[in-house]
C-alpha cells in the first residue's frame, strides 16, 4: 500500500495469540500501516461508529477490516451484517479470516457482503505464508477514501 500508508488495518480477533501472529506476519510482508487489534465484535462495531468506550476518540480513516468469525459478544456474522448494512461503513473492505472452511459458512459470509474470505491454515508455515501473501495483496489493494 505504497499510496495508502494512511489506511488503518482493523484486526478483529479474540485470540490474542492469533492477533500477535497475524500482525507479525503482516509486518514481515512489509505492511507498515497502523494495525488496531480489537478483542470482540462489540468493540469493533463501537470503534467504527465511535460509540461506547470509543465514543470520545477520533480515529483515522479509511479502514480495512480483518475479521474473525468466532467472536464473543457479537460474532463475525453479526459484525459483518452491521457494517454492511450501514450507509457509513458499507464500503469498508472486509477480509474474513477464520479457521472454518465449511462451504456453507463461506457462502453465508459472501452473502452478508464480505469482500474476501480466507481460511486460517492449521499448519503454521502455511498460516504464515497465507498472511504474508495477504500482506502482498494489501499492498496493491485500493481502499475507498473517506466518504
Amino acid at each position: 500500500m505504497e499510496d495508502a500508508r494512511h489506511v488503518t488495518i482493523l484486526l478483529v480477533e479474540d485470540d490474542p495469540g492469533h492477533a500477535v501472529l497475524i500482525e507479525k506476519n503482516l509486518r514481515r510482508a512489509n505492511i507498515a500501516n497502523s494495525i488496531i487489534t480489537l478483542g470482540d465484535g462489540r468493540k469493533a462495531v463501537d470503534f467504527l461508529f465511535k460509540e461506547g468506550e470509543y465514543g470520545r476518540g477520533s480515529h483515522p480513516t479509511p479502514f480495512l477490516i480483518l475479521l474473525d468469525l468466532n467472536l464473543p459478544v457479537l460474532d463475525g456474522y453479526q459484525v459483518l451484517k452491521i457494517i454492511k448494512n450501514d450507509e457509513r461503513t458499507k464500503r469498508i473492505p472486509i477480509v474474513v479470516l477464520t479457521t472454518t472452511d465449511n462451504p456453507h459458512e463461506v457462502a453465508r459470509c459472501y452473502e452478508l457482503g464480505c469482500n474476501v474470505y480466507i481460511t486460517k491454515p492449521v499448519e503454521y508455515a502455511q498460516f504464515s505464508d497465507a498472511i504474508r501473501t495477504l500482506g502482498l495483496f494489501f499492498s496493491i489493494v485500493k481502499v475507498p477514501e473517506k466518504e
Partner: protein
C-alpha cells in the same frame, strides 16, 4: 406371507363360504321345486283312484238297480262301468309307472297295489257274471245269496279296502313331501317366511280335497247299504244306513271346518267352492227325502209305487245329481291344489332368487369394504414401510404421509416425530463437533505459530552472535535484547496459555460426556426443597444484590436427584450471575402441572439475551453478551443434556431490558412403562 396376501386369502375364504351358501340356496330351491313338481301328478293319481272307487260304487248301484228293476239299461250301465273302470285301471297304472320313472316317493308300491286291485276286480267281475247267470236262469234267491257271499265281500272287504289303502299311501306320500318342503324351507329362513303362507294354503287345499273325498266315500257307502237293503230287504242294512248318515254329517262338518281355515288364510272367498258344497248338501238332502218317501211307501206295502219312485227319482238323485256334484267339487278342489302349488313354486323360486341377490350384494359389500378400508390400511402400511426405509437410509428430511387418521396414521406421525428428534440431535451433534474442532484448533494454531516464532528468534540470535555485530546496531534486524526480553517470553507465554486453554476445553468436553453417560436413577423428588437449599448456597450473592426471591408451589416429580440439582443450580446461578448491576433483582421459580409433563420456569430481571444470540444460548463454549463475568461456556450445554436425558425440553424467552425466563419440562412418571429417562 405379506399382509396383503393374508387379506386376499381371507377374502377368498369369505367368497368361498358365500358361494357355498349360494350353492345351498340353489340346491334347496331345486329340491323344493322337484318336490312341488311331483305334487301335481300325485294329486292327479289320487283323483283317478278315488274316481275309480266312485265307479266301483256306481257299478254296485247299477248291479243293485238291475236286480231290482231288471231292465236291460241297468245291465248296459253295469257293462259301461266295467269298461270305464278297466280303462281307469290302465290309465292309473300307466301314471303310476311314469311316477316310478320320475323317482316319486312310494310310486312302486302304488304300481303293485294297482296290479292287485286289477286282479281282485277281475274276480269281482267273474262273481258278478255268476250272479247274473244265476239270476238269468231264474235262480234269483241263489243270485242274491251269491252277491252276499262273494261279490259284496270282494267289493267291500277287499277291493274298497285296497283302494282306501292306496289313497292313504298317497296321502302319506304327500305328507312326507310337505315335510321335506318345510324342512328345506327352514334352511332358508327368508324363503320360509315368504313361502310359509303359500305352503299352508297348498296344504289346506289338499286337506279340503281329502275331506270332500271322505264325504264321497261315506255317501257311497251309505247308498250301498240302501241298495243292499232294497235288494235283500235285510233291516240290518238300514241300521248301517242310519249310522253312515251320522258319519256323513260329521264329514260335512269337517269340510266346513277346513273351508273356514281357507277363508281365514284369505284363500277362498265366501262363495266359490262353498256354493258347490252347498249344492252337494242340498242334493244329499233331496236323496234322504226321496229315501224316506220310498221307505214310507214300502212300509205301507205299496212296493210297486216304491219301485216306481226309485226308478224315477232316487236313481237320478244319487247317480245323476249327488255323486256328480261331489265329483264336480272334487275336480274344482284338485284345480285349486294345482293353483296353490303353482303359486308356492313361484314364491319359492323368487325367494330363492332374492336370496342369491342378497348373497351377491353381501359379497359385493365385502369387496367394497375390503378395497376401501383394508386396502387403505395396506396402502398406509406400505407407505410406512417405504418411509421408514427411506429414513433408515439416512434421509432425515423425509416424512411419512398417510391419508388415514387411524392408529397407522398415529404410528406414522409418531415415527415422524421420532425422525424430527433424530434430525435435531443429529444437527446438534454436527454443530457440537464443529464448535469443538474450531475451538480446539485455535490454541493449536497458537502453539505451532509461536513455536515457529521461537525457532525464528533462535535463528536470529544465532546469526547475530556469529556475525559478532555489536548490540543494538543492526538496522533492519531486531536487537538481541528485544528478542530475548520481549519476543521469546511472549511466545512462551502464548504457548503456555494455549496449552492451558486446550486442557480446559478438553476437561470441559470430558465433563459433558460424563453427564451424557452417567446412569440416571429416577426417584420421587420435592423440587421445592431442592430449590430452597440451592438458594441457601447463593444466599450471600442474593443478599448483596438485594434479590427478591419467590419460590412458587412446585409439584413433586420423578427425576434423578443429582441431575435436577445441576439443572436448577446452573439456571439459578446464571440468573444471579447475569443480574443487571444497579437494578434490584427479582428471581421467580414457578411450575405448572400438565397432563404429561411438569414445566418449570426460572424468571429473572437480569440483562437478558439479544435476539440474535438466542439460538446459541445452549451451545457449548458459547458465552454471549458482555464478557464481564467469569465462566467456561459449559453450563447451559450440560443443563440441556441433562433435561434431554430426562425426556424433557428446554427453551428460553428473553428481553434484553426486562430479563429472561428459562423453562424446562420433566415428563410425569409413567406407572406403565416405568420410564422417564432416555439415552
Amino acid at each position: 406371507m405379506s399382509i396383503k396376501g393374508k387379506l386376499i386369502a381371507g377374502l377368498s375364504i369369505i367368497t368361498m363360504i358365500l358361494t357355498l351358501l349360494a350353492a345351498v340356496v340353489i340346491w334347496n330351491t331345486a329340491k323344493i321345486h322337484r318336490q312341488l313338481k311331483l305334487f301335481s301328478p300325485t294329486i292327479d293319481y289320487l283323483h283317478d283312484i278315488r274316481r275309480m272307487r266312485s265307479d266301483f260304487y256306481k257299478q254296485g248301484h247299477a248291479l243293485a238297480y238291475f236286480l231290482i228293476f231288471r231292465k236291460e239299461g241297468n245291465k248296459a250301465d253295469l257293462n259301461k262301468f266295467s269298461a270305464e273302470i278297466k280303462e281307469y285301471l290302465k290309465k292309473t297304472e300307466r301314471k303310476a309307472k311314469t311316477r316310478v320313472g320320475r323317482g316319486a316317493r312310494g310310486a312302486e308300491k302304488a304300481v303293485n297295489k294297482l296290479e292287485e286291485i286289477g286282479k281282485i276286480y277281475n274276480e269281482f267281475l267273474n262273481s258278478v257274471d255268476s250272479v247274473l247267470r244265476l239270476d238269468g236262469s231264474g235262480k234269483r234267491e241263489e243270485a242274491v245269496l251269491l252277491i252276499k257271499k262273494e261279490a259284496d265281500l270282494l267289493m267291500d272287504d277287499v277291493l274298497l279296502r285296497k283302494i282306501d289303502g292306496a289313497i292313504i299311501d298317497e296321502v302319506e306320500n304327500l305328507d312326507a313331501m310337505y315335510h321335506e318342503v318345510f324342512m328345506r324351507l327352514g334352511l332358508m329362513p327368508w324363503v320360509y317366511e315368504k313361502s310359509f303362507d303359500r305352503t299352508a294354503i297348498a296344504e289346506t287345499a289338499l286337506h279340503y280335497f281329502l275331506s270332500v273325498d271322505r264325504v264321497d266315500l261315506i255317501v257311497n257307502r251309505q247308498m250301498k247299504k240302501l241298495m243292499d237293503y232294497l235288494v235283500t230287504g235285510n233291516s240290518g242294512n238300514m241300521t248301517m244306513f242310519e249310522e253312515y248318515g251320522v258319519d256323513v254329517k260329521k264329514a260335512f262338518e269337517e269340510v266346513d271346518g277346513i273351508a273356514q281355515v281357507q277363508r281365514e288364510l284369505a284363500f277362498k272367498d265366501e262363495k266359490s267352492g262353498q256354493t258347490s258344497m252347498r249344492a252337494v248338501k242340498q242334493r244329499y238332502a233331496e236323496v234322504l227325502e226321496s229315501v224316506e218317501k220310498i221307505l214310507a211307501l214300502r212300509k205301507r206295502g205299496k212296493a210297486e209305487e216304491a219301485f216306481g219312485l226309485m226308478e224315477r227319482d232316487l236313481k237320478f238323485l244319487i247317480g245323476g245329481a249327488l255323486l256328480t256334484t261331489i265329483d264336480g267339487v272334487m275336480y274344482e278342489s284338485k284345480e285349486e291344489i294345482a293353483d296353490a302349488h303353482r303359486a308356492l313354486l313361484q314364491a319359492t323360486i323368487s325367494a330363492g332368487l332374492q336370496g342369491l341377490i342378497v348373497l351377491a350384494l353381501v359379497l359385493a359389500g365385502i369387496f367394497i369394504v375390503f378395497f376401501r378400508l383394508i386396502g387403505g390400511m395396506v396402502v398406509s402400511l406400505v407407505r410406512l414401510k417405504e418411509g421408514t426405509e427411506i429414513i433408515g437410509r439416512g434421509d432425515l428430511d423425509h416424512r411419512i404421509a398417510t391419508p388415514f387418521k387411524d392408529e397407522l396414521g398415529e404410528l406414522a406421525s409418531s415415527f415422524n416425530k421420532m425422525t424430527d428428534a433424530v434430525k435435531e440431535s443429529n444437527e446438534e451433534l454436527k454443530h457440537f463437533a464443529y464448535i469443538v474442532s474450531h475451538d480446539l484448533r485455535a490454541p493449536l494454531v497458537n502453539i505451532k505459530g509461536f513455536a515457529a516464532e521461537l525457532r525464528r528468534s533462535l535463528e536470529e540470535i544465532g546469526s547475530q552472535v556469529n556475525s559478532g555485530a555489536p548490540r543494538g546496531e543492526a538496522t533492519d534486524e531486531k536487537g538481541l535484547d528485544s528478542i530475548l526480553r520481549r519476543d521469546v517470553p511472549e511466545a512462551l507465554g502464548f504457548i503456555d496459555s494455549s496449552v492451558t486453554r486446550m486442557d480446559g476445553l478438553i476437561t470441559a468436553i470430558l465433563k459433558l460426556s460424563r453427564i451424557g453417560r452417567r446412569e440416571l436413577t429416577p426417584e420421587p423428588l420435592d423440587p421445592e426443597g431442592l430449590v430452597r437449599s440451592l438458594l441457601k448456597t447463593l444466599a450471600h450473592q442474593l443478599e448483596e444484590r438485594k434479590v427478591a426471591v419467590t419460590v412458587g408451589p412446585l409439584p413433586r416429580i420423578v427425576a434423578d436427584k443429582t441431575a435436577l440439582e445441576q439443572i436448577m443450580g446452573n439456571l439459578l446461578d446464571n440468573a444471579v450471575k447475569y443480574l443487571e448491576p444497579g437494578r434490584e433483582g427479582i428471581l421467580e421459580i414457578t411450575a405448572e402441572q400438565g397432563p404429561a409433563e411438569t414445566t418449570f420456569h426460572i424468571r429473572d430481571n437480569g440483562r437478558g439475551i439479544a435476539k440474535d444470540d438466542m439460538p446459541k444460548v445452549f451451545e457449548i463454549f458459547r458465552r454471549l453478551g458482555r464478557q464481564d463475568v467469569s465462566g467456561e461456556g459449559m453450563g447451559l450445554a450440560s443443563v440441556k443434556t441433562l433435561v434431554r436425558r430426562h425426556g424433557g425440553r428446554i427453551w428460553c424467552q428473553s428481553d434484553p431490558d426486562k430479563g429472561s425466563i428459562f423453562s424446562f419440562t420433566i415428563p410425569r412418571f409413567d406407572e406403565n412403562t416405568k420410564k422417564t429417562t432416555r439415552t
